[in-house]
């Protein structure tokens, strides 16, 4: 599968995904490189605001793990996942809903 297609499939997998209290509303994905040249799949997710100061750690870790496993299935490099709460959405552009 071409990288663009794989990114699209991963985006489809991400949007609507639920992990505990976290609901993914939108996603922005891109292939990039770390400073050491290692490829990385950068995933920025627009999610619901946490009930408290932040989300439950187990929910966050499960979400990252789910996305990482799907990325491997799609042949994509290591994922780097960022969560953006809805109330902070103004600080981030380019989400795909």
């Amino acid at each position: 599968m071409r990288p663009e297609g794989a990114l699209g499939e991963l985006s489809d997998f991400a949007v609507g995904h639920e992990s505990g209290e976290i609901h993914v509303h939108a996603a922005s994905l891109a292939l990039d490189e770390r400073r050491d040249g290692e490829p990385v799949t950068r995933i920025m997710l627009l999610v619901n605001d946490p009930a408290g100061d932040t989300w439950e750690l187990d929910s966050v870790l499960r979400l990252r793990r789910d996305l990482a496993r799907r990325a491997v299935e799609l042949g994509l490099p290591t994922v780097s996942v960022s969560l953006v709460p809805e109330s902070d959405a103004d600080s981030v552009e380019d989400f795909v809903r």
Binding site: R35, D49, T54, L57, V60, R65, A68, V72, T78, D88
Partner: protein, 184 residues
């Protein structure tokens, strides 16, 4: 002579102070968030190097251990953590065959447990976010996300310092074997 060792717990306290529970009004302190994430990563890094050193030099005095601890590189821990991720299907590719045979010696047997996975994943997550925090001008670190990483760092440090599982000890041992004696 006074001694001020690097203590993971103190680093975590510093990280917490940079993201207070009740921030003042106005624009979020994004620079503080970056420093908090970098500091939290170093808490995890130093917690691991402490365990790795003590695993390899069980009877050595503190001065000896501190010198040897400096030889453990970020890349040593990263490589062993990547092997764990590859074995767990969260990172593309697989470890070298002889490493895979070590970690999965037989049908149904795997020397990766929940503690090892937590340590490996946590190290990789925080190593990646530290890179972004320190070098990526475009990276965004909201307060909830920063607090989430700090919670993960606290959890990983507690696991590193407290685990007694055979699998985690093998992880620390592999990191020790990856590390090389340095010039000083």
């Amino acid at each position: 002579m006074p001694s001020y060792p690097i203590e993971p717990g103190k680093l975590l306290e510093t990280a917490d102070r940079l993201v207070p529970a009740h921030p003042g009004r106005g624009r979020p302190a994004y620079t503080d968030h970056r420093r908090a994430l970098s500091t939290a990563y170093y808490a995890v890094f130093h917690a691991i190097t402490d365990r790795v050193t003590k695993a390899a030099f069980t009877e050595a005095d503190t001065a000896f251990q501190r010198k040897v601890q400096r030889w453990i590189k970020h890349g040593d821990i990263r490589m062993v953590s990547v092997w764990v991720g590859q074995m767990e299907g969260t990172i593309k590719g697989g470890p070298p065959q002889h490493i895979e045979a070590l970690l999965r010696p037989g049908e149904g047997v795997i020397h990766i447990d929940a503690d090892t996975l937590s340590i490996a994943e946590g190290f990789l997550d925080l190593n990646e976010v530290r890179e972004q925090a320190d070098y990526d001008h475009d990276a965004v670190f909201t307060r909830p996300q920063t607090l989430s990483y700090l919670a993960q760092a606290r959890s990983v440090v507690a696991t590193v310092e407290g685990t007694q599982t055979d699998a985690a000890k093998r992880f620390f041992g592999l990191v020790a074997m990856r590390s090389n004696i340095q010039a000083r």
